[in-house]
Subunit: 110 residues, 2 copies
């Protein structure tokens, strides 16, 4: 007979956030789980930038950058403004800096 954990399970279960919240949380971290997106966000820490400047900075195609910017925008991590033909992207939320900085700290404290 397998061993019993019902007491522990009950206690831990009551402390665990809902599945939906935990799923939202992993979805949030997914945004930072790609080096292209992290690079884009890091670049935007310095200054707003247009799509082609980001593409040039990262040495990637305009299309690839555009796709990633869409993901970041859908998640409300970045926003944009249009100036003629050019579209400038910028951080829409300063919380992003904190999250990335926290990850960074973990890395250097190894």
């Amino acid at each position: 007979m397998p061993h019993d954990h019902s007491e522990l399970l009950h206690r831990v279960k009551t402390e665990l956030p809902t599945d939906e919240l935990l799923s939202d949380l992993s979805d949030l971290f997914k945004l930072f789980a790609d080096s292209t997106r992290v690079k884009i966000l890091y670049a935007l820490f310095e200054s707003e930038m247009c799509v082609c400047a980001i593409a040039e900075l990262l040495g990637m195609t305009q299309s690839a950058i555009s796709h990633q910017l869409r993901i970041l925008k859908d998640a409300n991590l970045v926003a944009n403004r249009r100036a003629g033909k050019t579209v400038y992207y910028f951080l829409s939320d300063d919380h992003v800096r904190t999250i990335i900085a926290q990850g960074f700290e973990h890395l250097i404290e190894e």
Copy 2:
């Protein structure tokens, strides 16, 4: 002729961490980018747990949990101890709490 960003690019480029570091950073966030792993870590916030207890808590197979625990262990986010047949896993680093808590805060401040 496409427009010029050389000044901006130069400035941003000097501020950007190396590709390797940015890649390590996204690799770190990848660990939190799966809801199963986030659930496991959250559970371990409360108490160390054996593999089968985690599997039962999350309603998943022992094998699936074992595979994920290996990923977390390889990344030094969890460690384990053996007690007879049972292997208990626990957080090896309290930094994990901070990173997850930061993500959580972002979610609720929406």
